[in-house]
């Protein structure tokens, strides 16, 4: 069976309902019109009769039959009047509008009443005023002068009592036809029919519009769900929503039911998804808490690393101080002991004493200078200031002078004129000391003649590049990034803490805003320190920010 579109179905349902209502209303209107027409007709006829009652009464009272005849003729001339006659109190016909009827049929005059009496129905009327109205049906054929009344035809008979101050004079009988009433009724029914047809047509147009209006949102909904379910199908979630593939404009009720099913599944899916989401959110909260814990742990370990780095820096500096001090301390100690020995042996001359003390004085000044240099380096000055890279390089080389000389390292310098950088005074110095110290360690593994360390400072657009290259054999490629990791050291068996290069990179990248990288060149490693130039703007921002 072909299924009807939802729009057609709506149209049929609404239209049918409308037709049924219209038919019922139409039938009621016709019934009501019939009833009211009959009543109006009765009243009109009774009023007509009333207008002739006085003339008839006068005529009968004065026994002026000519006048009575004229009156009756006048009455029968009315289109709705078929027959008029007057009876005396005995029921004998005094006069009639159509005398011919009685003569032709050869009937006694009083029989007329009996003829019309058969099959009568009393009508509501002005009985109290002497009217008596009834509906009569003709039982026989009746030949009148102007027309023939056929058996079965219905008429309205109205009779009224003629009297003279209460004394009965006779009775006026009028037989009305139904034509006038039927004509009026027919006209009314025609009008009603036209009205009903017009309103039915308008209503059907409205119903059509309404069914479209009602079905359109439904189609839109179906369209969306269909589209959505297709998309879900493409996303391979077919198990969740049944795909709906139909043209919403051609949708039938069956498909609406399908749609409802789909929406139900859809709703269940949504609930399921919401539950999944809630679960995921709970998990996320858990993960967040874990993340936060991990973050705290990370911050703690960073703090520890910073502490370790600081200690390592101090350790390195201490090592450098120890190294710088060892030789002069040895000189002072031995010199003093030598003088003590000489005095014990009485061999200490004034000149030797003077020379010895001068030498001790010189050595202690050197010690003092060394400790002052390192103290300055460790001093925690918090204010950043324009720093000359060249000066810092020279300072570092000066601090490491003893070691460089001791291991016969040839130092080459190539400095371009560069702008200053923005730095805490000793941060770059720490980095350079670390790089030089590492280089000297590496250079010990190559013959003295090949121990070279070079410093190159080059001006670039917005930055400057300081390269520290040694000839110590370089770094294995696989370790080039690892050497910057904390606690990673290739000198574990000696004095390496594994924090020097990590600390250096941290200073260059986090404090100086630059980059520290390494590559292998020719005979060894080359560390590049790229540093942004000092600018007044950035400086004031740093200071006030």
């Amino acid at each position: 069976m072909k299924r009807l579109r939802i729009q057609s179905q709506l149209f049929l349902w609404f239209g049918g309902l409308l037709l049924l209502t219209a038919s019922l209303m139409f039938a009621y209107q016709i019934w009501y019109a019939t009833q009211s027409q009959q009543q109006q007709q009765l009243e009109l006829n009774q009023w007509l009769v009333m207008t002739f009652v006085r003339d008839c009464t006068d005529s009968v009272l004065s026994r002026n039959w000519a006048l009575l005849n004229i009156t009756l003729e006048e009455m029968s001339a009315l289109p709705q009047v078929e027959l008029v006659y007057v009876l005396d109190p005995e029921g004998v016909v005094l006069d009639a509008s159509d005398e011919v009827v009685f003569q032709a049929n050869g009937l006694p005059k009083r029989r007329v009443v009996g003829l019309l009496d058969s099959g009568t129905v009393p009508l509501q009327g002005y009985k109290a005023q002497g009217f008596f109205s009834k509906k009569v049906e003709l039982s026989e054929r009746l030949q009148l002068s102007h027309r023939v009344l056929e058996p079965g035809e219905q008429f309205m008979e109205i009779s009224v009592l003629l009297n003279n101050r209460g004394a009965p004079l006779g009775r006026l009988m009028v037989l009305f036809n139904d034509d006038f009433q039927t004509g009026l009724l027919r006209e009314e029914i025609q009008n009603l029919t036209v009205m009903v047809l017009i309103s039915l047509a308008v209503s059907l147009v409205l119903v059509n519009y309404l069914s479209r209006r009602l079905s359109l949102p439904l189609m839109g909904l179906a369209d969306k769900i269909s589209e959505h379910s297709l998309r879900w199908q493409n996303a391979d979630r077919t198990h969740l929503v049944r795909p709906m593939r139909f043209d919403p404009k051609q949708m039938t009720t069956y498909e609406v039911v399908q749609l409802m099913e789909a929406v139900k599944v859809y709703q269940q899916t949504m609930v399921q998804l919401m539950e999944e989401r809630t679960l995921a959110e709970e998990n996320l909260e858990g993960s967040n808490a874990e993340l936060s814990q991990a973050n705290e742990a990370l911050l703690e370990s960073q703090k520890q690393l910073r502490q370790a780095t600081r200690l390592a820096t101090m350790g390195e500096v201490l090592g450098m101080v120890a190294h710088q001090w060892r030789q002069p301390l040895a000189v002072i100690s031995t010199l003093a002991q030598g003088m003590i020995l000489k005095r014990q042996l009485h061999k200490l001359s004034e000149q030797a004493l003077g020379e010895g003390l001068t030498q001790i004085q010189t050595q202690t000044e050197y010690l003092s200078q060394t400790i002052e240099d390192f103290r300055k380096m460790l001093q925690a000055e918090q204010q950043q200031q324009p720093t000359c890279v060249k000066t810092v390089c020279q300072q570092a080389l000066s601090l490491m002078e003893q070691r460089l000389e001791r291991f016969q390292v040839q130092v080459a310098l190539s400095f371009e004129e560069v702008d200053p950088i923005d730095s805490l005074p000793n941060e770059l110095l720490q980095v350079l000391l670390n790089l030089i110290s590492n280089a000297v360690d590496a250079l010990q593994s190559v013959p003295e003649a090949n121990r070279r360390l070079s410093f190159t400072l080059v001006n670039q657009d917005t930055s400057l590049l300081l390269s520290v290259a040694d000839s110590g054999g370089g770094i294995p490629n696989e370790l080039k990034e690892r050497i910057f990791e904390p606690y990673f050291s290739t000198k574990r068996d000696r004095q390496g803490t594994g924090l020097g290069l990590h600390m250096s990179r941290m200073i260059v990248e986090q404090h100086l805003g630059g980059r520290l990288t390494v590559e292998n060149q020719d005979a060894g490693a080359c560390f590049h320190i790229q540093l942004p130039k000092f600018s007044v703007d950035s400086h004031s921002e740093t200071r006030h920010g």
């Binding site: 120890a322 190294h323 060892r326 030789q327 301390l329 040895a330 000189v331 002072i332 100690s333 031995t334 010199l335 002991q337 030598g338 003590i340 020995l341 000489k342 042996l345 061999k347 030797a352 030498q359 050595q363 000389e405 001791r406 291991f407 016969q408 003295e448 000198k491 068996d493 000696r494 004095q495």
Partner: protein, 119 residues
């Protein structure tokens, strides 16, 4: 009274050490590195050689290997600017080189005197 050769790159320290040894009536000669020491040793052998460990040109270890390689068997004291200055002891390097004594700088003069008395 012994013949002693001092090999030390620091002129100040070398002079101080020579002064002490001379005060103790020893015959002392000083050179500043291993190469100069070998030149001197070509001429004559001392009773004792006191050498620094880390020196330019030729360090103490290389000098000692050359000396022992040539079959010279005089006594040797090795000095260092701290035995653990580089984190490890270097003394094992001399296991096969017949080093007589080690001295850590700065050392106590009586300690040196005691060694000299054992000569």
């Amino acid at each position: 009274m012994a013949k002693i050769l001092v090999v030390e790159d620091s002129a100040v320290f070398r002079d101080v050490l020579i002064d002490i040894l001379e005060t103790l009536d020893h015959e002392v000669q000083g050179v500043m590195n291993g190469k100069e020491a070998l030149t001197v040793l070509e001429e004559a052998h001392p009773d004792l050689m006191i050498t620094d460990y880390i020196m330019p040109e030729m360090d103490g270890e290389e000098l000692l290997r050359t000396v022992r390689g040539r079959g010279w068997d005089f006594r040797v004291i090795v000095m260092s600017g701290g035995a653990d200055v580089k984190g490890v002891s270097f003394k094992h390097l001399f296991d096969d080189l017949a080093v007589w004594k080690f001295l850590d700088k700065p050392f106590k003069v009586p300690e040196l005197m005691a060694m000299l008395e054992d000569l």
